[in-house]
Amino acid sequence: MTHAERAALFAAEPGRSAWHDEALWSVRQRRDEAVRALPEWGRLVELAGQLKAHTLARLPDYLEQFESEATARGAVVHWAKDAAEHNRIVLGLLEERRVERVAKSKSMLTEECGLNPYLEARGIEVIDTDLGERIVQLRNEAPSHIVLPAIHLKRTEIGALFHEHLGTPAGESEPAALVAAARQDLRRRFLSAQAGITGVNFGIAETGGIVVCTNEGNADLGTSLPPLHIASMGIEKLIPRLADLSVFLRLLARSATGQPITAYTSHFHGPRPDAELHIVLVDNGRSALRAREAVREALHCIRCGACMNTCPVFRYGGGHAYGATIPGPIGSVLEPAKHPQHHASLPFACSGCGACGGVCPVGIDLPQQLQSLRAESGPQRGAMGLRAMSFAMRGRRRYALATGVMRLAQRLLPRLVIERMARGWTRDRALPQAARESFRSWWQKQERGR
């Protein structure tokens, strides 16, 4: 299925689309307020983009620095060239320590690698501890948004889900009650987990430390009790210095939810006493993206989700319509750039409004990137017609002929035939009628009259 088909399904359910739009628009508005309260916002965005560009330019150096600093602090650094290697490394670490139960905090990278099904197929229980992630995990579906994984669900649906899985009373859909039930259940899981897996928001080359941002404190809980912490980190998450973190932390939560900072910003510099910290650095196509100038900037992304909240196509069509780990404008760049054969329709899931470029806290020119990927995606449906149009528009005579044919067709063909030919337009919109006299012929008459 293409994005258009999946989005149409989402929107076909009465009220779903409008409600989803309102929910995300309110997040976008909170972001606007938070951003306006910070006079230096523009400067921070610029600085963040420069820091990311600089880091990517010298990525091999910074990765090596990060590895040696992290190692010096007692962490073990692993290198994974792709998802399969990442999963094998994680499995190996868990199996060596006979781990059967893992508490995992939110990590889009592990989604990208398909870690959960991989581990579950090998008898290891993985519990997602972020509430939204836990909800989609119980529904056996993927997150629909990178920051708000269950934003596509109404609370009544979550109530029904919790009734089925967590034994809440039937019909209970009060958020406070549902959160309490989830907390009860998760508390038990945290206590029994033998290992914690987290993502990484920022890796600091200078210190070898990693930083994880959450609002629920689940990364801390999941890693504080068990003796093993595995952190999965995309190689683009690196920043040079601890001081640079201050730039990104001011941008991240404001862009994501309008909060000045996430409730928890957890720094891990080496393992706890008597515990292990393993950091898995994952490439999985990132080096290939880095080598391509047209899309390299997409690696600057800090996964705030602001482009999703501002994108009308995302708001009205839902995140699952993208059929990709990372949805929305940034996903429509990253996913087809990595897997053109699967995600060719994504750069076209865009009305070209450009708002994504305006909200990006690291200044990625998303509209430009989407445009360049459109050209790479190969001809889409309708390309023949557009080529024909281009041919017909290359000169005055051709133009006159083409528009003449169009006018004749509109006069002679039965209305139903025309409506069918232009169904993409006419399903919801009336077809414009050619004016009795085009501007061109009006002008010619005027000139003759002069």
Binding site: A4, A7, A8, A11, S17, A18, W25, D32, V35, G42, T310, P312, V313, Y316, G317, F348, C350, S351, G352, C353, G354, A355, G357, G358, Q371, L373, R374, A375, E376, Q380, R381, G382, A383, L386, M389, S390, M393, R394, G395, R396, Y399, T403, M406, R407, G424, W425, R427, D428, R429, A430, L431, P432, Q433, A435, E437, S438, F439, R440, W442, W443
Partner: protein, 258 residues
């Protein structure tokens, strides 16, 4: 000052009144624009669909057609954005279009405001207007400040010139610069999303009490007008040039009692 009028292909065929109104608005400011008959299309549809090789000949044709003019004025912010923002990349160092300065291509209100220094238009328009802000004019030409940006850049000449008309009231929308969902080939590539977005815009304008929809982007108006017609609502859509030129709206008879 040699000023050329560029009339987008679909305006020429479907909405020539918008182009005539543009001429009148310019004439009222003492500018006699001419219409080079070789002009066709700016190439945006092909470019937008990811077919730069199909758009390039049209860009070259545009550059040749308008090479001898001091200014090119068009009643479509989106087409102007195509020329100003994307021709350089599309044409590169194209031999046939050398010397064509895309910075001389202006949207009508932008031309009035920036080149002619017009701050007021004489006229009356005693109606509650829903102003639809086109995305390309807003974000690519910088006509006004996008709601997601913090720092103001330029005033929005479209809004300011409309506001100068006697009796006009521009209603406050819940989302002043949300996309209408036209999006060029997006309108037919993702028809459900496109229509959904358009209907949401219409609902916003209706809730704000707009009697008439006005925009500087004829393509958005074509889309929104098509949706309105299917909803069997009598709600006029007008190009900003038609309002500034003092044209009565085309379907004014139909709205009586609406």
């Amino acid at each position: 000052m040699r000023v050329a009028l560029f009339v987008p292909c679909f305006v020429d065929q479907f909405a020539p009144g918008m182009a005539r109104a543009t001429l009148e608005v310019l004439a009222a400011q003492g500018v006699e624009a001419s219409y080079p008959r070789n002009q066709t299309c700016c190439g945006q549809p092909a470019w937008n669909a990811g077919l730069p090789d199909a758009a390039r000949p049209l860009a070259r044709h545009f550059a040749r057609t308008f090479a001898d003019f001091d200014y090119v004025v068009a009643p479509s912010a989106s087409c102007v954005a195509m020329v100003r923002r994307h021709y350089a990349g599309l044409l590169g160092r194209d031999s046939g279009s050398e010397g064509f300065d895309t910075a001389r291509v202006f949207e009508l209100c932008e031309f009035l405001w920036e080149v002619l220094g017009v701050r007021e238009i004489e006229g009356r328009f005693p109606h509650r207007v829903g102003l639809h802000v086109g995305c390309h004019g807003l974000r690519e030409l910088g006509l006004g400040n996008a709601s997601e940006r913090i720092r103001g850049r330029r005033p929005d000449p479209i809004r300011r010139l409309l506001e100068s008309l006697a009796g006009i009231e521009i209603v406050d929308l819940a989302r002043p610069d949300e996309c209408c969902g036209f999006g060029g080939t997006f309108a037919v590539g993702e028809p459900e999303m496109s229509a959904q977005m358009g209907r949401a815009r219409l609902a916003d304008h209706a809730a704000a009490g707009a009697e008439v929809l006005v925009s500087a982007d004829p393509s958005c108006l074509l889309h929104l007008g098509g949706l309105i017609e299917r909803q069997a609502r009598a709600w006029p859509v007008l190009h900003v040039a038609e309002v500034l030129a003092g044209h009565a709206w085309p379907r004014s008879q139909e709205v009586e009692g609406a």
